[in-house]
Symmetry: C2
């Protein structure tokens, strides 16, 4: 996905958010913003990949803040919240009617909704009854773009690109049903902390390795997947996959610039530029397959 004028101010607002997460020093917050402005001033150009800009800006901000993981607390909160509600979500997915195919579709929907919860968009500290209601409402609404039927014959060797902390626990429901259906799963997480994305730390903390066949990393803290920084075995896994499942906007932004296929983008549309690019307005639940 190419950079959109909106990305400029969205990125500065993210820099401010991570500065606020990392420090109370107003002067340091200004410095992080100025760092972001400097990066934009030197590399922003129409037509550039959005993630090239965002990776550079976040790296600069992390360096100025002298903090390699400003989202530490936010990630913990996401993980704890998802862990708390996982049994409820699990029962929505596995205790419904129908066969494995129906369960797979429900698991994908839950995982897409999980992509929405992470950001604090709907709040992570909602009481259990409100959380359940909100999840139920999105679950009832279903997928706005639903290509899950066309994914069914492609589950033998899945590469699953994770997005955020918290959300990953809901993703395990997808892993579970794919395994039950006979599929193989390579999970891919970030090589180092960036935003509130999953790394090997959370994989270990929640024993997620046990639920898949293999775990790889993107090799760096780049936004999404930066192939220049990716290990060879990840590139091979992407080439050989029967299906790549890509969670969230950052993976979409980067992989939509590449030619791997078939690839299923599972995400909640959280901004207009991604919405325009993928063809669904903000708020939509998307499971789009590109073959």
């Amino acid at each position: 996905m190419k950079v959109h004028p909106r990305c400029s101010y969205c990125l500065l607002s993210r820099v401010h958010l991570e500065a606020e997460q990392s420090t109370d020093d107003e002067e340091l917050m200004h410095k992080a913003i100025i760092g972001g402005i400097e990066v934009m001033n030197s590399i922003y150009r129409p037509g550039m990949p959005a993630a090239e800009l965002s990776t550079a800006i976040h790296r600069k901000a992390y360096a100025i803040l002298n903090d390699n993981d400003p989202y530490r607390k936010m990630k913990e909160l996401s993980s704890n919240t998802a862990a708390r509600f996982l049994p409820v979500i699990r029962s929505h997915v596995f205790n419904g009617d129908g066969d494995d195919v129906a369960t797979f579709k429900r698991a994908v929907l839950a995982a897409v909704i999980g992509n929405y919860f992470d950001y604090g968009v709907m709040g992570l500290d909602v009481p259990i009854d409100v959380f359940e209601d909100t999840f139920r409402e999105h679950f009832r609404r279903g997928l706005d773009i639903d290509d899950t039927d066309r994914m069914l014959d492609k589950l033998s060797n899945v590469v699953y690109l994770a997005d955020n902390c918290g959300e990953i626990l809901i993703d395990t429901l997808v892993f579970e049903i794919i395994k039950k259906m006979g599929g193989n799963i390579t999970l891919v997480v970030r090589g180092a902390p960036i935003l509130n994305d999953v790394t090997m730390d959370e994989v270990k903390e929640f024993n997620i390795g046990e639920k898949v066949d293999r775990v790889l990393t993107t090799g760096s803290n780049a936004i999404g997947v930066c192939l220049e920084e990716a290990p060879q075995e990840l590139k091979e896994a992407l080439e050989n996959a029967s299906l790549i499942i890509s969670k969230g906007m950052a993976n979409y932004e980067t992989l939509s610039e590449e030619s791997y296929s078939p690839i299923a983008y599972l995400l909640k549309v959280k901004c207009d530029p991604v919405g325009e690019d993928i063809g669904a307005p903000k708020g939509c639940s998307v499971a789009r397959l590109i073959e």
Copy 2:
């Protein structure tokens, strides 16, 4: 008011808004954004007056867009909407209980609510019943900071700094009651188009000159009041006023950097930095007197 980290991305979002108002050319929108980034890169520093940055950024954007008034249509819409609802608002102000003092207080409240309506925050195209309900709701809530009592003995020679189109028509209700109470009014509008602010064009279009004793301008299209660009007679008027009434955030941002007094800030708080500075959260109706 000093620049806040938030101003950086808010300003770029305004540049994008004015670019979208001015053109359909995506490339030109990018150029306007890049212009804003360049300005920030060269002059943004902690502790600088917020308006110094915003004036420079908007001037650069207008130059790149080759458009001296990108808000043309939005201003017309504001004016037309306010003109349409003015009789209703007028009846809220003048048909209430009590004496001139009570009417003055209601007129100030209506003018503060007028500062909220302009931005499209609550939409300018709402049907008449919704508009009325919304106005009524804010009117019932009243002022969150109310120093109007302390303004009453200072109305003999008022300098009234206008803010936005549309809103200015509601301001005329304040002019009317001040005149009835024996006061003199010097109205000040922008010297040239900037954002959706009032200029002499709207003063003439709506015969606003007839409702006050004198109309001056700020001498330029600077955000708020830039004294370096202001005519001598404006500076004298500000020095000699029995009360300066300053509408909106841009006038607040600039005059809070100066020492003129007494000065009454009438505004709806529309952003956190102004809210923190003036001591009232976003959404509040403020009539704060500084003596």
